[in-house]
Symmetry: C2
C-alpha cells in the first residue's frame, strides 16, 4: 500500500498529473483566446512570455484526482474531471473580476484590466465551453462528434453542468446581497453553498464518477466537498475581518470596511439586541471612519459573530469528515482527502 502523503505532496502530485492535460486543453483554444487564458492561469505574462508560474494552490484538481483513487481507480481516471473543474473555476474567476471590477488578482492585473472587458468576457466563455468539451470527450480520443462516450462521461458532464449552474446562481445571489441592508445566516449559507460549495462538491466527486463508482459513494463525496466549501468559506469570512494583514495582504477588518455581508456579521445581527442594532447602524453608513470600523469589529465579536463563524467552520469540517467515513473509501487517498479538508480549514487566523 502506498503511504499517505502530506498535503503539499498531494497537491504537487496532482499538479504533475493534471498540468499537462490542462495545458493541452488550453492549447486547443484559438490564437485570439489562448494568450488570455494562459495569462490568467499565470503561465505567461501580458506579452505571452512564459513565466514558469502555475496558478493557485490547485486544491480542486487534487480533490478530483484523489476522488478517483479513493474508489480504487488510477489517478489518471480523474484527470479529465480535474481539468474540467479547473477550467470552470477559472472561467468564474475571470468573470467575477469583471463583475466585481477587481483590477488585481494574485498581485497581477486581472484579465479585464489588461485586455478589456469584452475580451475578458469572451475568454471566460471559452473556458466554460472548453470544460464541457473536455469532459464529454471519450478518453484517448480527439473527440470527434462520432466517437462513443461511456455513461460515466455523460454523468461527469452533468456533474459539471449542475455545479456550474449552482455556482452562477450563488454569484448572482451574492451580487443581489449588495443592494439589501441585511442578510440573514440562512441566506448567507445558501449563497456560499452555491458560490463555493457546489464546485468543490463536484471536484470531490467527479473522479469517482469517471471511475464508475456507485451513486451512494458519489453522493457522499459530493457532500464532503460541499461541507468542505462551507467550512472554507466560514474561515475565509473570519480572515476577512480578523486575518493578519501581513498574511492576507489586506488591511485589518477589510470585509467590514467594504460592508461585506459575511457570516460573522449575519450571525451578529441576528442577535437583535442593542449592540446588534448599533452594528446595523454602523454598517448602514456610507463611509466608516477608522474608529467606527474597529467598533464594528468589536460589536461583531461581542454579539457572538466570531464564535458563530468559528463554530460553523468546525461543524462543517466535522460533517465533511463524517461524509468521507460514510463513503467507505479505499487506500491512502481516503486519509489524504481528510488531510486536505483539515489543511483548507485550519489556516492561521
Amino acid at each position: 500500500m502506498i503511504p499517505t502523503q502530506s498535503v503539499p505532496e498531494v497537491l504537487h502530485r496532482a499538479r504533475e498529473l493534471v498540468t499537462p492535460a490542462l495545458r493541452s486543453a488550453v492549447g486547443r483554444l484559438s490564437p485570439e483566446l489562448r494568450p488570455l487564458a494562459e495569462y490568467h492561469l499565470g503561465w505567461c505574462d501580458a506579452e505571452g512570455r512564459p513565466t514558469g508560474g502555475d496558478g493557485g494552490k490547485g486544491v480542486r484538481q487534487a480533490l478530483a484526482v484523489l476522488s478517483a483513487e479513493a474508489v480504487g481507480a488510477h489517478a489518471m481516471t480523474g484527470v479529465p474531471g480535474a481539468v474540467a473543474v479547473e477550467l470552470v473555476h477559472n472561467f468564474s474567476l475571470i468573470h467575477d473580476d469583471v463583475i466585481d471590477e477587481d483590477a488585481e488578482r494574485r498581485h497581477r492585473p486581472t484579465v479585464w484590466a489588461l485586455f478589456g472587458i469584452g475580451r475578458a468576457v469572451i475568454a471566460g466563455d471559452a473556458l466554460l465551453a472548453l470544460a464541457q468539451q473536455v469532459v464529454l470527450e471519450p478518453a484517448q480520443s480527439a473527440g470527434s462528434l462520432e466517437a462513443p462516450l461511456g455513461p460515466d462521461g455523460a454523468r461527469a458532464a452533468r456533474c459539471i453542468a449542475n455545479a456550474t449552474a449552482a455556482m452562477i446562481a450563488g454569484q448572482a445571489l451574492d451580487m443581489a446581497f449588495e443592494s439589501v441592508p441585511v442578510v440573514d445566516v440562512a441566506g448567507c449559507l445558501a449563497m456560499e453553498a452555491g458560490k463555493t460549495g457546489a464546485l468543490l462538491g463536484c471536484a470531490s466527486a467527479i473522479g469517482a464518477v469517471l471511475a464508475g463508482a456507485p451513486d451512494e459513494t458519489v453522493v457522499m463525496l459530493d457532500t464532503y466537498g460541499m461541507e468542505l466549501g462551507l467550512a472554507f468559506q466560514a474561515v475565509d469570512d473570519l480572515l476577512g475581518i480578523w486575518g493578519d494583514p501581513v498574511a492576507t495582504g489586506k488591511p485589518a477588518w477589510s470585509d467590514l470596511r467594504q460592508h461585506k455581508k459575511t457570516l460573522p456579521v449575519a450571525a451578529a445581527l441576528a442577535v437583535g439586541d442593542g449592540k446588534a442594532e448599533e452594528l446595523a447602524w454602523l454598517l448602514a453608513l456610507e463611509h466608516l471612519e477608522e474608529a467606527q470600523v474597529a467598533r464594528a469589529a468589536a460589536l461583531v465579536e461581542e454579539c457572538g459573530g466570531r464564535t458563530a463563524a468559528a463554530d460553523e467552520a468546525d461543524r462543517r469540517l466535522a460533517a465533511a469528515l463524517a461524509a468521507l467515513e460514510a463513503a467507505k473509501l479505499v487506500g491512502s487517498a481516503a486519509e489524504e482527502l481528510a488531510e486536505v479538508a483539515r489543511f483548507v480549514v485550519e489556516r492561521e487566523f
Copy 2:
C-alpha cells in the same frame, strides 16, 4: 403523409412545441437570474410584466425540430436540442451586446444597458450552463445526478459544446479583426463559419442526434446548417451595405460607415487594382464624409465585391441543399428544411 408546410407555418409549429420547454427551462433559473433571461427573450418588460412577446423568428429551434422529423422521429425528440440551441444563441447575444457595447436590440435596451454589465455577464453565463443541463438530462426526468442518460444525450451535449466553442472562437476572431486594417476573404469566411455557421450546423443536426440517426446523416445535416449559416451571413453582409434603410432600420451603407470588414469589402480589396487601393485608403480614414461613404460603396461594387458576395450566397445555398439531398431524409421535413434554407437566404435586398 403530412403535407409540406410553408416556412411561417413551420416556424409557428416549432415555436408551439419548443416554447413550453424553453419556458420551463428558464423557469429553473434562480430569482436573481430569471427576470434578466425573460426580459432578454422578450417575454417580460424591464419590470417583469409579461409582454406576450416571443423573441426572434426562431429559425434555430425550427431546424432542431425538423432535423428530428427528417430522420423519422417525432418532433418532440428534437425539443431538448432546440431548447439548448436557443439558450446558447441567447447567451451569445447577451454577451455580444456587452462586448460590442450595443445598447439596443430589437428596439429595446439590451440586458447590460438596463441591468448593468455585471448582471448581463452572469445572466449570459447562466443560459450557457442551463443549455448543457437541458441536453444532458434524460427525457422525462428532473435530471438528478443519478439518473442514466442515453448515448444520444451525450452526443447531443458534445454537439452543443463543440458548436459553442466554435462560436466563441468566431466571435473572438471578429473582435480581433477590428484592430487590423485588412481582412482577406478566407479570414472573413473562417470567422463567419464560427460565429454563425457552427450553431446553425448544430441546430440542424441535434434533432437527428437525439433521434439516434447514423453518423453520415448527422454530418450531412450539420453541413447543411453550416452552409446555410454562411449563405445567411453573405446575404447579411450585402444587406449591411445595400439593404433598404426602411427594411433594415439602419442608414444606407451602414456597415461601411462602421468600417466593418465584411465579405463584399474583403472580396473587393482582394482585386488589388487602383480602385481597390482607393477603397482601402477610404476605409482607413477615421471618419467618412457622406460622399466618401457613397464612393466606398460604389468602389466595392465596381471591384466586384457585391457580385462576389451574392455568388457566395448562391453557392452556399446550393451546397446546403446538396447536403440535404445527400442526407437521404424522410417525410415532409426534408422539403421543409430546403424551404427554410431558401427563406433565410432569399430575403429582399
